[in-house]
Amino acid sequence: MLKMLARLLKVLNSETDPSQISLALALAMLAGLTPLFSLHNILVLLLVLMLRVNLSAFLLGLLFFSGLAYLLDPFFHWIGLSMLTAGPLESIWTILYNSSLWRLERFNNPIVAGSLLFSLILFIPFHLIVKSAVIRYRENILSWVQKTRLMQLLKANKFYHIYQSLERMR
C-alpha cells in the first residue's frame, strides 16, 4: 500500500506530461470497469503500450477501477439490459449480433455492454478533468503539500525512504 502511494506521488510530482498521466488513467478506467478478458481490452493494451502514456499510472488506475467495478456491476447490468432490450435499438443490436467480431466482444452481455458504454461516455471528460487536476496540483498544491506537517512527518518515516529510493532510480 505504501509502495503504491509512493508510486502515485512519484508520478504526480514527476515531470511527466499531465496528458500522459490522464490518458493512462482514462484507459485504465476503460479496462478496469469493463470485464478484463474482453476483446476491446486487447486494443486498450495495444494503445497503452504504443502510446507514450504513463505505465505506472495505468497500472495503479487498473487496480483501482477493477475493484470499483465489482461495486458497480449491478448498475452496469441495469444500464446494459435497458439498452439491449430497448425496442428502437433492436435493429442495431441484431446487426451486431450477426457479426463474429461483436459476438466475440460479448456485447450482448448486459454487464459488458453497460460498463463499456459507461466508460466510453466518461472517457474524454475524465481525461480532461484528470489532466486539469494534475496541472492544478502541480501549480498550487505541490509546494504547499511539501511544506505541510503531514508531509514532514511522512518524510521521517519508512514511506519517504521508499519514495526517495524510487526517485534515485529514475
Partner: protein, 548 residues
Amino acid sequence: MKKWLRWWGIGAFVSLTLIIFGLWFFFVDSLVKRTIEDSGSRLVGARVELGRADLSLFPAGLSLYRLQVTNPDKPMENAVEITRIACSIDLTSALLNKITINEMTLDGVRFDTPRKTSGKIKQKAATPTIKKKISKALELPSFKLPDVKEILEKEDLKSLKLIASVRNDIDREKIKWQKRLKELPDKDKLKDYERRIKGLKSIGKGGFGGILSGFGELVTIKKELEKDLKLIKTARHDLDNGIQLLQKRIKEAEAAPVDDVRRLKEKYALSPQGLANITKLLLGEKIGNWTQTALSWYDKLKPFLERSGVKQEGSDTEVVKPLRGKGVYVRFKERHPTPDFLIRKVRVTRIETRIGALSGKLQNITPDQDVLGLPLSFVFTGDSIKDVKSLKFDGTLNHIVPEKSRDSINFSIKGYQARNIILSDSKDLPLSLQKGLADINLKAGLSHESITARLVSGLTSTKFSVGKPDATNPIVTAISSAISDVSKFNLTADISGTIRDYDIKLKSNLDSVLQSAVKNLAGDQAARLEKGLTAAITKKAGGPLNEL
C-alpha cells in the same frame, strides 16, 4: 507525433500477446479440466472428476479422459464413469461465441462403479421435487394367526367405552329424578287438600256470606289441584322418554361387543381379498423406486433440454441465462439461427452394464431445441448380451416448444434369461424368481408435466422360490406351494399422474393364483380368530353389561 508514440511498445505488445497465448496454451488443459469438474459438480450435486483434458486447435477438438460422475445418493459410487470422450469442435461457431460439437465419441461407459473416496460435496438443501408414491407402509399381510390376548392389549374396545357411558347416563338420570320428585306434590300435600275440602262443608252453615267465601276457596283448591296434576303428568311423560332412551342405549351397549369382534376380525384376520393385489405388495416399492430414480435424473437433465429464457414482448429479443456461470445474455434474431450449445451426434461405442455391453447414439443435444427445430433422439442396442436375445432402448425428448414438451421412451428386452431375482425379502414370504425367460416392454410418455407409462412383461418357464417360510403356518405353505407351481408369470404396471405426484397400478396373474390358494385356509383362520375374540370380549364386557 514522435512525442506520443512508443515504437518499442508494439514489440512489447506482440511479445506480451505471445506470452499470454503461450501461457494459455500451456495451462488451457488444466483450465478445461477445472471448469468441467467445477461446473459438473455444481450441476450434479456431487463430485465430478476428470483424469485429463486435452484441447487441440488444429484440428479443433477436445479429448477428456476418465470422467467420473458421483451418484449424489451414493457418494461412494460413480453414477457413470467414462474412459474417453473425444469431440470435434466447429471453429466457425466458436467465433460466434457458440459451442457446436459435430461429433462426440464415448468409449468405455460404465455405470455404478465403486469410488475410492467419497464424492459428496457441501450443497444447499434441495427442495424435494419428486413425490414418492409407494412407501414402506405397503407391507405383506401377516400370515400368522394373531394372539387374541395381544390384540386386546393393544386395541381399545369400543363396547367397554359405550357400556361405561350408558352406566354414567343411568346414574345421572337417577340423580335428576331424585331432585324432580321433591318438586312434585307429596302425601302431606294430599292430606292438606283433604283437610281444606272438609273445612268447606262447615262453611255452608254460615249463611249466604259463608257460602260465597266457601265457593272462592273451592275455586282456589281446584286451580291448585289442576296445577299439581299437570306437574305430575309432565314428570311422567319425561320419565317415559328417559326410560325409552336408556333402553335404546342399553341395547346399543349389548350389541357393541359384536361390533368389536367384527372390527378386530377384519383388521387382523387374513382375507383372500387382502391378497387380491399381492403383486403391488411384492413389486410396488421396487417399481416405485425405479420410477423415482428415473424422474430424478430427468429433473437433473432438464436444463440441458430447455433453457430458461424470457422473451421480450412483441420482439425477437430474448434474455437467457447461460448454461453455466452467472449473469444473463440477450439473444437477438439471427440470420442463420444456431443454438448456443449443440452436440450434433454422440456415438457411444461401449456401455458396460450388469447384463453386458451396449452401444448407441444420441443426436441433437442442446438446450436450444426451439432454435434448432429438432428434438433430442437416442437409440441404444445390445445384440450380443449375455442372457439376452436382444435389447433396444430408444426415445425422443421433444422440447421444441418448451411449454408443450413431449418425451417418449421405449425399452424392450427379448429373451432375457432371468436368474435369482429377489422379488420380496419379507420375513414371512421371502420370494425370488429362480429362473425364467422374460420379454419386457416399456413405453413411457411425458407430456409437459404429466406422465403415462406402461410396462408389460411376460415370463415363461418360470421357477419361483420361497426362501425359508414358516412351515408351521398352513397359509404360507399354501402360498409357497401355489407359487412353486406357477410356470408363467405376467406383469403389467401402469404409471399415471404428474411427475411430482404419480400413481402406480400393478396387475399380474400371481394375484388370482394366490387368492384361490388361500381362500379356504384364510376363511378357517378368520373363523378361529372370531371365536377367540367373541369369547374374550364377552368375558370382558359381560360383567359391566349385567350391571346395567
